[in-house]
Amino acid sequence: MNKTAKTNPSFLNGVPELLVLRLLARRAMYGYEIVKEIQLQTKDALAFGEGCIYPYLHYLEAEKFVKSARREVEGRSRNYYELTRRGHKRLAALENEWSRVTLAVAAVKGAQYV
């Protein structure tokens, strides 16, 4: 089994939702594209079985944060996902939460070296 196929536990702790929503806020993407974008932008820091993206996408769709539609691009039919209004609100809330947490962690981390 390929090492990268193993799921990174941190991927399951709310981070993927933020990442996926952030990426989809820019433009509509399909599953493979989202995975490659995450790997590219995080420089492979987040490793996971690529198939794991789909349960997340389906969950987000069931929660109406994203919606999907089949589109034909360059002769191939793909399932494209895009953010809904509810998804934008969710993204804003997650980003606020993330900022708050990172600031708190940074403050603690900085305090160690004072």
Partner: protein
């Protein structure tokens, strides 16, 4: 992995875990497309097709793990999946109460087909004939709808067979309770004290549910059914005693001489008890309405079924499964006979004796089995579709 093809393995795992076919189809399709992209990327980077395939499968992840993740996501994305105990354990019980309430409404609202509706008996006698079977049908339709409703949610939430069967079992239990036969269990060889005052020759209750308007107008010959062949179901008040069916046809001079009005039809099978009871009826001329009413514990049940009008199998089914009402005399006003309380202790929701309770109980289980079989068959078709489309050759 036992299956070298991750797509078919993923599909098999999903179906095994109870994933709805529609969702399975979508998951498999997306997975196949993703693997195809991965393989193309591998080839583009200089790998051989075989190596690219191996690498793509490794990157994609194990099918069994992916199937588990998909099912978790599916279950977490609906209320039914998140709270199965509440949705399929407690709510069906609540629905049972709702079904009982609707049955009560049916009976009490004055709806013309309700079993206890007696407002227009003279002008619409057919309402009396069909009120009990229709009520039984109404109850069963409600149970069936409730079962389908919960089955559908259970399948959509991907909860698998266990919860569906649990829910079906609960509703089946409810079906059993719908028709509790509360007749006393006694030893037939030593008749109970409570039956001492009743006719020892025929421990049966017969009730009239239908009489032609002509008889109602005359007011004196409630057993004259104008030539129709009639089926009498004689139900023993003691649990365990076999019910008896009398098939009777009019005598030579129906409607005039009480003793000649009715004779057993050719196919009638009389037990000694029934024959004795029949002889006693004829001897004492119990066909007169007043005599009927004066007999303690006797009510009459007549369901006029013409051999020309209905198939014999239908007659047989109705006669052996449906017990009709409890009205004894139809004159200027309807009098409902007091039922022997010891024979019928509990009110029975399923139509005062409708069809056997196991039918009520079997219906939810049958619906569950059919819906699961349909899902399985659709899943098998999906596998065929995939094989034809060659989607797995990524």
């Amino acid at each position: 992995m036992s299956d070298p093809n991750p797509i078919t393995a993923l599909q098999r795992e999903l179906l095994k875990l109870g994933c709805p076919v529609k969702i399975t189809r979508r998951i498999v399709r997306e997975a196949a497309e993703h693997l195809e992209d991965l393989e193309q990327a591998g080839v583009a980077s200089g790998l051989t097709p075989a190596d690219a395939t191996t690498k793509a499968r490794g990157q994609f992840g194990r099918p069994d793990e992916l199937a588990q993740r998909h099912m978790e996501a599916l279950r977490n994305s609906s209320w039914w999946g998140r709270y199965p105990l509440l949705g399929f354990g407690l709510m069906p019980l609540g629905s049972v109460v709702g079904v009982g309430f609707l049955c009560w409404l049916w009976n009490m609202s004055g709806f013309p087909l309700a079993p206890n509706f007696t407002r227009f008996p003279i002008h619409y006698p057919w309402l009396w004939t069909w009120s009990f079977p229709l009520f039984c049908g109404f109850v069963m339709a409600l149970i069936g709808l409730v079962t389908v409703y919960y089955c559908r949610h259970c399948l959509q939430a991907g909860l698998g067979k266990r919860w569906i069967w649990a829910m079906g079992g609960l509703l089946a239990l409810h079906g059993l309770c719908l028709h509790i036969d509360s007749r006393q269990v006694v030893n037939l060889e030593s008749p109970p004290v409570v039956l001492r005052d009743e006719k020892t020759a025929l421990h049966g209750k017969i009730s009239i549910t239908f009489l032609p308007p002509t008889d109602l107008a005359s007011g004196s010959r409630p057993m004259d059914l104008s030539g129709a062949l009639s089926v009498f179901k004689v139900r023993h008040p003691i649990k365990g005693a076999p019910d008896e069916i009398l098939v009777l046809k009019p005598g030579e001079n129906p409607g005039y001489n009480p003793g000649d009005e009715w004779v057993p039809a050719d196919n009638v099978m009389l037990s000694d008890q029934i024959a004795a009871g029949w002889a006693d009826i004829q001897q004492r001329q119990l066909f007169e309405a007043e005599d009927f009413l004066s007999e303690p514990g006797w009510t009459a049940s007549v369901h006029p079924l013409s051999t020309e009008k209905y198939p014999r199998s239908f007659q047989k089914f109705i006669s052996s499964n449906v017990e009709f009402g409890h009205f004894v005399w139809l004159g200027e006003e309807t009098i409902q006979a007091p039922l022997p309380t010891l024979a019928y202790g509990w009110p029975r929701l399923a139509s005062n004796g409708g069809w056997p309770s196991w039918i009520n109980a079997a219906l939810p289980l049958l619906i569950v089995a059919v819906m699961l079989a349909c899902q399985k068959r659709t899943g098998q078709r999906l596998q065929v579709d995939l094989a034809c489309a060659n989607l797995t050759a990524v």
